[in-house]
């Protein structure tokens, strides 16, 4: 071990002094703060509006904080706002949304991930052609497909049922999710797949026991994309199911979009924030995984 006793050091030594108010930091945090404010501004507006009474809103300044804080709009949005005759606010729709979202997210992710897996590891002739069609499908405006799908669902007898809606979400989630999973699985070491084959595992066993456990991050990404998409969906929810299954967004739409009659902006805002809470909380919970997931896979093209 070399330990030359050294003379006392002069001049710069140790870590480079970093001023916390260096130009770089001021710029960096300044920009980020400004941007964060810009992003948060609409939320602020929504939030203060939701705490105001209607007379105050009529006064006009959308940025001013409420003079008199009222939680009534929140209560109303959640449990009192009427959708036609049922005046349960978002609360009834909430459970419907949960019932729609959970199976839709699960089914669409399972199917898309299996597709992605087949496309990356078990390529068969023509697979790319179908994949290209899928990508093309991602560009088709939903509205256009409304009636053809009504007819298809009618023919297979699923029209108007929860199952039909789940199927529709699965179909429309398929293009982007398949792309995501395909790219992710492609980036996993191929040798693992080969090793499993030598070990005698078949298509499904490799998928469930080898690929899936290694792909939790990308599954998180997919969950986030799907939960956001399906939770906020209105059109499909209302077209392909019957009223007892209407999702929360139908209530939201009914609260927000009534044309003739009094518009209660505070209730609208509260309802929107409430509706957004589920996806939002998923972001909070899984932020880290989200990033890692894409980094590890979706990114590779």
């Amino acid at each position: 071990m070399i330990d030359t006793p050294s003379t006392p050091l002069t001049g710069p030594q140790g870590p480079k002094p970093r001023k916390s108010f260096s130009r770089r930091n001021i710029f960096l945090y300044g920009t980020l703060l400004t941007i964060a404010l810009f992003y948060a501004l609409p939320l602020y507006v929504m939030f203060v509006t939701s705490l105001k009474g209607m007379p105050e809103i009529r006064l006009g300044n959308v940025f001013s904080p409420p003079l008199e804080v009222t939680f009534e709009p929140w209560v109303k949005a959640w449990s009192e706002a009427c959708t036609g005759l049922t005046c349960n606010g978002l609360s009834t729709g909430f459970w419907n949304s949960v019932q729609i979202t959970i199976p839709s997210v699960i089914l669409s992710i399972i199917i898309a991930s299996v597709n992605g897996y087949a496309l990356s590891n078990w390529k068969f002739k023509g697979a790319d052609a179908f994949f290209t069609i899928l990508i093309f499908g991602a560009f088709i405006p939903y509205q256009v497909m409304l009636y053809p799908i009504v007819i298809m669902l009618r023919e297979i007898g699923l029209y108007g049922s929860l199952g039909g809606l789940v199927l529709v979400h699965t179909v429309f989630g398929m293009p982007i999710l398949t792309l995501l999973f395909r790219n992710y699985f492609t980036s996993l070491p191929e040798e693992l797949f080969k090793a499993a084959r030598v070990d005698g595992a078949g298509f499904w066993r490799i998928y469930t026991q080898v690929m899936v456990p290694m792909s939790l991050p990308i599954f998180t990404v997919a969950v986030i994309l799907q939960v956001t998409g399906i939770w906020n969906d209105f059109l499909f929810g209302v077209v392909y199911t019957s009223p007892d299954n209407y999702p929360m967004t139908v209530s939201l739409n009914n609260i927000v979009n009534s044309t003739q009659g009094v518009k209660e902006y505070n209730v609208n805002m509260a309802a929107t924030i409430l509706t957004g809470l589920v996806p939002l909380s998923i972001y909070f919970v899984s932020g880290r995984l989200f990033v890692r997931g894409i980094a590890a896979g979706a990114v590779k093209g």
């Binding site: 009529r58 009427c82 959708t83 036609g84 005759l85 979009n257 009534s258 009659g261």
Partner: protein, 387 residues
């Protein structure tokens, strides 16, 4: 029997009105299953999907007019002529044009429930007071007052920047500023020559006035525009009878805080648009029976009174007591009783044509560079190709 009824009445008053219908229906031993979807477009998409998807609802709301023609042709809707006859609708429905709109090839397919009229000019007393002016009593006075209002820092005409409001306003001008026969010649007979004529030019000129008066109106929603009138920031607004609700909620009293001028105070006439219920063909006989009961019930006097009072619309029969209605509504009732009525444009032209006219006026109102002549020329073209 459970009967699912679909409609787009979701705001407070509307929902209350639906509640009256539901109560009445439930009283017959059936159950009203409510399916409300805000927004006519979305609701129509759902209705058509449900019908084509083979999963029809028990009854659904549609606007009076030609929208349902195709559904009838496709055999998806139930013929309720027998009920109409049994209930004697022919004799009680006023104006009769409402029932005509429900009739295809002599058969009746829908039950009209109410009348909404568009032809109202709402004026803010406060605004005129502030500007030191008298409250106008007709359209021309209103236009004349605009310069002074402007000078007083007031917006002469409040207009929401949404297409349907602009189209609605144009139709109001049309109905109010030309003789009825001209209106019918254009919209009913699609007479392009009349549309190109001088009478119609007056409408376009008025529209140009309106455009100028509303040029500084930056709100989007109709109720925000109404709010400008309520708070006295704007002189007036052309809007349907539902605007009354906003005034009421704001605690304003007709006559003292605001005025309402039907037919813009020029030609006191109301168009008789409104809503009707249709009944899809159902396989289940018990449901069909329930449909019949519902249809019959909708025009019964008690239902009409409670429903229309709640909704703020006019009843489809003139033989009932509406004394509890407020000032403006009474005016409307009076007009109805006098037969000062026009059919609604939706009863006369296809949605496609309506959409084209709408687009024309949306553009016209937004773009001051479009001249009155240009706009009229395009209008003539649309009428010429309309069916």
């Amino acid at each position: 029997e459970d009967l699912e009824v679909m409609h787009w009445w979701t705001s407070g008053g509307e929902a209350a009105a639906v509640g009256e219908l539901a109560k009445a229906f439930d009283a017959t031993g059936n159950t009203w299953v409510d399916a409300a979807i805000a927004g006519g477009d979305a609701a129509r998409a759902v209705m058509v999907s449900r019908l084509t998807g083979g999963d029809p609802m028990g009854a659904f709301q549609f606007n009076h007019g030609r929208q349902a023609e195709e559904l009838i042709e496709a055999g998806l809707l139930r013929d309720i002529t027998d009920i109409a006859e049994a209930e004697g609708w022919k004799d009680i429905v006023n104006p009769p044009s409402l029932l005509e709109s429900c009739t295809v090839d002599g058969r009746i397919y829908c039950a009209p429930v109410n009348i909404h009229s568009w032809q109202w000019l709402w004026l803010s007393h406060k605004a005129y007071e502030d500007a030191g002016l008298d409250v106008p009593t007709n359209w021309d006075e209103f236009v004349a007052s605009s310069a002074s209002l402007n000078a007083a820092g007031k917006l002469p005409l409040a207009l929401g920047q949404q297409g349907w409001q602009q189209r609605g306003m144009f139709n109001v001008l049309f109905a109010a500023l030309v003789p009825n026969d001209v209106f019918l010649a254009v919209y009913d007979e699609k007479d392009a020559d009349v549309a190109a004529g001088a009478d119609v030019s007056r409408v376009f000129a008025a529209a140009a006035d309106a455009r100028d008066m509303a040029v500084k109106s930056t709100v989007q929603n109709w109720n925000d525009a109404t709010n400008l009138v309520i708070t006295g920031q704007a002189g007036g607004q052309i809007m349907g009878d539902w605007a009354q609700g906003e005034f009421a909620v704001a605690g304003q009293v007709a006559g003292t805080d605001y005025s309402c001028l039907p037919g813009l105070g020029v030609t006191e006439v109301l168009s008789t648009g409104g809503d009707a219920f249709y009944f899809p063909v159902m396989k289940d006989d018990t449901k069909t029976a329930a449909q019949s009961e519902l249809a019959a019930l909708m025009l019964r006097p008690a239902t009409q009174v409670s429903f229309n009072l709640a909704k703020g619309s006019l009843p489809v029969r003139g033989d009932i007591d509406m004394s509890t209605a407020n000032d403006c509504m009474q005016k409307g009732l009076g007009l109805l009783a006098n037969g000062a009525i026009l059919p609604d444009t939706a009863q006369l032209v296809t949605p496609d044509t309506a959409e084209q006219i709408s687009t024309l006026f949306i553009e016209f109102f937004a773009d001051t560079s479009i001249t009155v002549e240009d706009a009229q020329a395009q209008f003539v073209k649309i009428i010429a190709t309309a069916e």
